[in-house]
């Protein structure tokens, strides 16, 4: 008897080359059912190539991908029915209006009139109700983005991939989208998110993979990833324009308008030691802030190539 796959997505040794350029260099990881998963990386890291391979838009040079246990090549019909992808580009079909477009999209996935109430619900949730009969050509960029989201969800896929869904959209749509995604996630939908807004990934995703130059640089729960960063930040403003003593100059992460931010190793540079050094130099502090590292700090470290964090699976 076949047991259902515990993984929503399995990516196994996926490689993709364009001539001499290796866009993906043997990427392997799994995404569990019901996860809210973040796939991050700088431009050119290979995220979109990987998503294209999962969605069937691109053929991998080698390796395999399975969606809920269904191979995306050998069993492509079943695999694609489990998947909804919101593409990064703002694409649309100018020949149709919004509701026709959604019904056509549902039909591709074998769904008929039984999903029309769901289409109406999505139009309501995504504030598209008033644009129901509007031509796709006549919609603003934000509205087109909403339709793209509805198109990806029209067949109620158990796995949803959002490829930078909030790029260039207003705050209202972001809120609408994340509220909708949270609801779907709470109902068991697996969500994979790629975004350049790292605070979104930090807030929404329970686990994160960081891809860089076609390789997985990190893959672990968001909290664990944040905890592995051995630094904290101390922001100081010295009284009377005082200058930092030489012993602290090597810790400076940034400096602007009299405010200096020090990057402190939690073990090697205790905050008390910094204050002692300032006091010994006869310097007074006008203002002070501490900041824990966020995903952006870790992302920058990992993708700059000076990180010592080893990827875990």
């Amino acid at each position: 008897m076949n047991t259902p796959s515990p993984d929503a997505l399995v990516i196994d040794e996926v490689r993709k080359s364009y001539g001499s350029l290796q866009a993906l260099k043997g990427v392997s990881f799994s995404i569990r059912r019901g996860e809210f998963f973040g796939l991050l990386g700088p431009n050119g890291a290979g995220k979109s190539t990987l998503i294209s391979i999962i969605a069937g838009l691109t053929r991998a040079s080698s390796g395999r991908v399975a969606v809920l246990g269904h191979d995306t090549v050998a069993d492509f019909r079943t695999a694609r029915r489990q998947l909804g992808v919101v593409p990064q580009e703002l694409v649309f079909d100018p020949f149709f209006n919004v509701v026709d477009m959604l019904r056509i999209q549902a039909g591709y996935y074998g769904c008929g009139e039984e999903v029309w109430p769901w289409i109406d619900e999505m139009l309501e949730r995504l504030d598209l109700k008033a644009k129901r009969g509007a031509s796709m050509r006549a919609l603003s960029g934000g509205m087109k983005r909403r339709v793209l989201i509805a198109q990806a969800l029209v067949h109620k896929p158990p796995v949803v991939i959002l490829d930078e869904p909030t790029a260039g959209v207003d705050v209202e749509l972001r809120r609408t989208l994340w509220s909708f995604m949270r609801d779907l996630h709470s109902q068991g939908t697996t969500v994979v998110l790629t975004t350049h807004y790292l605070e979104e990934a930090q807030e929404m995703c329970s686990r994160i993979a960081i891809l860089d130059k076609g390789e997985v640089k990190a893959l672990e729960p968001t909290a664990q990833l944040l905890a592995r960063h051995p630094f904290r930040f101390l922001r100081l403003k010295l009284a009377n324009g005082g200058l930092l003593p030489e012993s602290l100059r090597g810790l400076v992460a940034s400096e602007a308008e009299g405010v200096v931010e020090l990057k402190l190793d939690v073990k090697a540079n205790p905050i008390g030691g910094v204050f002692d050094a300032l006091r010994n130099a006869g310097l007074a502090i006008e203002d002070v802030h501490t900041r824990e590292p966020d995903l952006e700090d870790i992302f920058i470290e990992l993708t700059r190539g000076d990180a010592s964090l080893e990827p875990t699976r």
Partner: protein, 256 residues
């Protein structure tokens, strides 16, 4: 209806809706163009007889050829323009990501082109009926030649649409391949009136058999035997379809 069947029928419906939404461009315009040819040539060559077609006026001879030439050009245009528009606009991702197989793509695009071809042909025959009512002496042959010819050009349009990266490529394919071959295929003359070299050359043009076979369906007479025409057209259909299907199966130029 199974989910797979619904996927196919939706793609077919969408392809029909696409050309239906711009009927003035996709059906009316080609019919008007063909009628202009009919008026000009029929007027200029009025009273002339056609070599090898006893008792047939030039206008009667001309109409089936014009209809088939228009069908050839429109079947090709339907698939090629649909694909290139989707590629340029980027909305091809919707169908590429959908659970549709190569046969679904092939079937839906080719059948939609056939539907457009039927509309164009019927519109042309209806309008020309007032000037030259044509007999249909061999309906079976007429139907077979029409269907196979339109399907061949639709499949060729798929190949062109897959290969093309921009509208210019389709225009080049149409201007340097489809239009010359369809004009030089005996639409306006019988090949018996050609010099020996061009007479022989015409027999290597598949479009010649499409037009000649179609004419046979109306008059029961043609330049070459109907079985020869059917063999050529069926051969062209199989060859072109095989290439188109290979491209769809392998994702050639589509799934990079």
């Amino acid at each position: 209806m199974s989910p797979d069947q619904r996927g196919f029928s939706t793609l077919l419906k969408k392809e029909i809706m696409r050309f239906w939404a711009v009927l003035a461009q996709t059906v009316t315009a080609p019919v008007i163009t063909a009628l202009l040819y009919l008026l000009v040539f029929a007027q200029a060559l009025q009273g002339r007889s056609v070599n090898g077609y006893d008792g047939l006026s030039y206008t009667e001879f001309l109409v089936p050829g014009l209809v088939m030439m228009t069908v050839i050009q429109n079947a090709f245009a339907n698939t090629s323009s649909s694909l290139i528009q989707s590629k340029v606009m980027g909305n091809i991702v919707f169908t590429l990501m959908a659970p549709l197989g190569p046969l679904d793509w092939f079937g839906a695009y080719v059948i939609a082109a056939l539907v457009r071809s039927v509309l164009v042909a019927l519109a042309m025959l209806a309008v020309t009926w007032f000037f030259v009512p044509l007999p249909v002496r061999e309906p079976g042959a007429l139907l077979a030649v029409f269907t196979l010819s339109a399907a061949t050009l639709a499949a060729l349009g798929l190949i062109a649409g897959i290969l093309a990266q921009k509208f210019d490529h389709i225009a080049a394919f149409t201007n340097f391949f489809i239009t010359p071959l369809s004009f030089l295929s005996g639409v306006f003359y019988s090949v018996h009136s050609l010099p020996p070299f061009w007479f022989t050359a015409s027999h290597f043009n598949p479009f010649f058999y499409m037009i000649d076979g179609f004419r046979y369906g109306f008059f029961g007479q043609a330049d070459v035997p109907i079985f020869q025409s059917l063999l050529w057209i069926a051969g062209a259909f199989v060859a072109v379809s095989a290439v188109a299907l290979w491209m769809l199966v392998t994702g050639y130029k589509m799934r990079r």
